[in-house]
């Protein structure tokens, strides 16, 4: 069980940006755009068959030619300011019943990713994911940041458009980051690496649906590009944001007016500091989610 490197370039203290799919695919969309915009080269891969069930078989003329597994690839890019390592996993190694990895397989994969990072002299890791927040989809997503060391707090506070867990009302700095985007922070801490998770906000009434939320990805991309000192063209992500907004808006328009009224309250809410009108109640939230669930599940052409 391990990884395979296609090449072994000399890198100077590279920063690792790692990501696995999660809610709204916020992190993966952001990191993948960054990787492509940087024209990062393929570096290697984790041997996926140790972690995953194959997703495709190819049989030709009665002969099994290939099995295809989810990709778990490393990329690299040398820049004038910083060398970068990327790791993008197409799936989290779960037991088949959960989307998020946990337990032995998750721990093994996190360590393999860091084995490669350390091999190239990496000491700083970024992961990315989603933060489910009581925001409206027309609002700009902010980015929740969680470092794995106390002395990184000052640094992450300086990032634009970010909040710490302690900035969020009622959290008192507490929370959790599910799956490998979170676990990697812990394993990095154990192995002495600095790590920061950047999570783009996704509205609470959208997070349960299997749709991407590029607005959250854009917020993450802006933070990562600023932190890494990289100019990233935003055309692609802006187009995705526009498309996603149109789709969400078309569903939103079909919601009963009383539900929309409740959700519209989120336009005026900053959950770190609630203002009038009052935020939606738990009961409202339940009803709203049921209504949206019904809309998403509805077959086309049926009432």
């Amino acid at each position: 069980m391990g990884f395979r490197l296609y090449k072994e370039p000399k890198l100077n203290n590279p920063v690792l940006i790692a990501c696995w799919p999660g809610i709204g695919n916020i992190g993966v969309i952001a990191v993948d755009i960054l990787r492509r915009m940087m024209a990062a080269e393929e570096l290697g891969e984790i041997e996926s068959w140790d972690f995953f069930y194959p997703r495709r078989v190819l049989i030709r003329d009665g002969e099994l030619k290939d099995l295809e597994f989810p990709n778990n690839k490393f990329y690299f890019k040398r820049t004038e300011t910083k060398d970068l390592l990327f790791f993008i996993g197409e799936e989290q190694p779960s037991d088949g019943t959960r989307v998020y990895a946990e337990g032995t397989n998750a721990y093994r994969m996190a360590n393999l990713v860091l084995d490669v990072a350390l091999k190239f002299g990496c000491q700083r890791v970024y992961t990315s994911g989603a933060a489910v927040a009581p925001i409206h989809h027309t609002a700009m997503s902010r980015v929740w940041v969680v470092p794995n060391k106390e002395d990184l707090i000052a640094e992450v506070k300086s990032y634009e458009n970010t909040v710490l867990m302690s900035d969020i009302e009622g959290r008192d700095g507490q929370g959790s980051i599910t799956g490998l985007n979170g676990l990697l922070l812990g394993v990095a801490k154990k192995r002495g690496l600095e790590a920061i998770c950047v999570m783009g906000e996704i509205p609470i009434y959208i997070h349960g649906f299997p749709i991407p939320y590029p607005k959250g990805s854009k917020a993450v991309l802006e933070v990562l590009s600023a932190v890494l000192g990289i100019e990233v063209p935003m055309d692609e992500i802006n187009a995705l944001v526009q498309q996603s907004e149109d789709e969400i808006e078309s569903v939103y328009e079909k919601l009963p007016s009383e539900i929309k009224e409740q959700l519209d309250k989120l336009k005026y809410v900053t959950y770190a500091k609630p203002s009038e009108p009052e935020p939606i109640t738990e009961e409202d939230k339940k009803r709203i989610l049921q209504e949206i669930d019904r809309l998403f599940k509805k077959e086309p052409g049926r009432d």
Binding site: W49, Y53, P54, R55, R60, G62, E63, L64, L67, N105
Partner: protein
């Protein structure tokens, strides 16, 4: 369990260049399990090893099927006279590659296995009276060539469709190929309305292949009787129930059934055949 090993070894088989036949308990029409059970009985195979379920199966309780509590099993049998190894197992829930590695480790180390055959059923929309042939998928051109003198459909093209995933047998064949072990998956079509009962004819076709290819010298008289009995019973059902006869006749004429018709056929055949046993 043997100290430090995820399997129990009861005895060390004395085999060279043996063949391995594999069946998974989760199989369409239970063709695979029935074939290996039959082979085990006829050849008086003996169990020699078992993989421990820990790490491969959910052990948070047991499932109940047919009023009986079930527990995952992964057992190896051997027949020295025929240089044959049989592995019958539930499909693991996780740790798939590790599990397959363990299977291959055991049969390579203790049985010197050189060829692997997996057996499985596949759902067929055809009637039970329609001629059916065994399909094969080899993991190498050499293996395909080796089976070319058998009456098999061995030119299949296939790619996994969206929403589906490869069979565990394909995973095993792929893993075997990585170790240069020749392997073939054998697939027997089973009419959809016999999936819940049994299809002795399908099982017999598979066993006939093994009988020829592995020179097992098995007498199929009992199996022939079972096939004849089931055919007779279905014929009686068709005579008694014109509606059922109509559905099967449509299938025999290569005409499709509606969802309702298919469901009714499955339900009635299952109820009627079970009542007779």
């Amino acid at each position: 369990m043997n100290e430090g090993q995820p399997f129990r070894l009861f005895t060390k088989p004395k085999l060279e260049n043996s063949a391995l036949v594999v069946a998974w308990n989760q199989d369409a029409g239970r063709v695979g399990p029935r074939v290996v059970d039959y082979l085990n009985t006829k050849l008086e195979s003996r169990e020699f090893a078992e993989i421990d379920p820990e790490g491969f199966f959910s052990l948070g309780g047991v499932s109940v099927e047919g009023d009986i509590a079930q527990f995952p099993e992964s057992k190896f049998y051997w027949c020295q006279a025929k240089s044959l190894v049989i592995f019958k197992s539930d499909i693991p829930r996780y740790g798939w590659y590790e599990f397959l590695g363990l299977v291959l480790d055991i049969v390579e180390k203790y049985c010197k296995v050189k060829e692997i055959y997996t057996v499985g059923g596949m759902v067929s929309p055809s009637a039970h009276t329609t001629p059916r042939m065994l399909l094969s998928v080899a993991n190498s051109a050499e293996m395909k060539m080796m089976l070319s003198h058998h009456d098999l459909i061995s030119d299949m093209d296939y790619e996994t469709q969206d929403g589906q995933r490869p069979t565990f047998s394909s995973f095993l064949l792929w893993a075997a190929k990585r170790r240069n072990i020749a392997g073939t998956s054998l697939w027997m079509p089973v009419p959809f309305y016999l999936l819940a009962v049994q299809d002795p004819w399908a099982c017999k076709k598979v066993m006939e292949f093994f009988n020829r290819h592995l020179e097992l010298d098995i007498d199929f008289t009992d199996m022939d009787e079972e096939v004849t009995r089931q055919n007779r019973e279905i014929a009686q059902v068709r005579r008694q129930f014109p509606e059922i006869d109509g559905y099967i006749s449509k299938l025999e004429s290569n005409l499709g059934l509606t969802v309702d018709e298919s469901e009714k056929l499955v339900k009635e055949i299952e109820a009627l055949l079970r009542r007779r046993h």
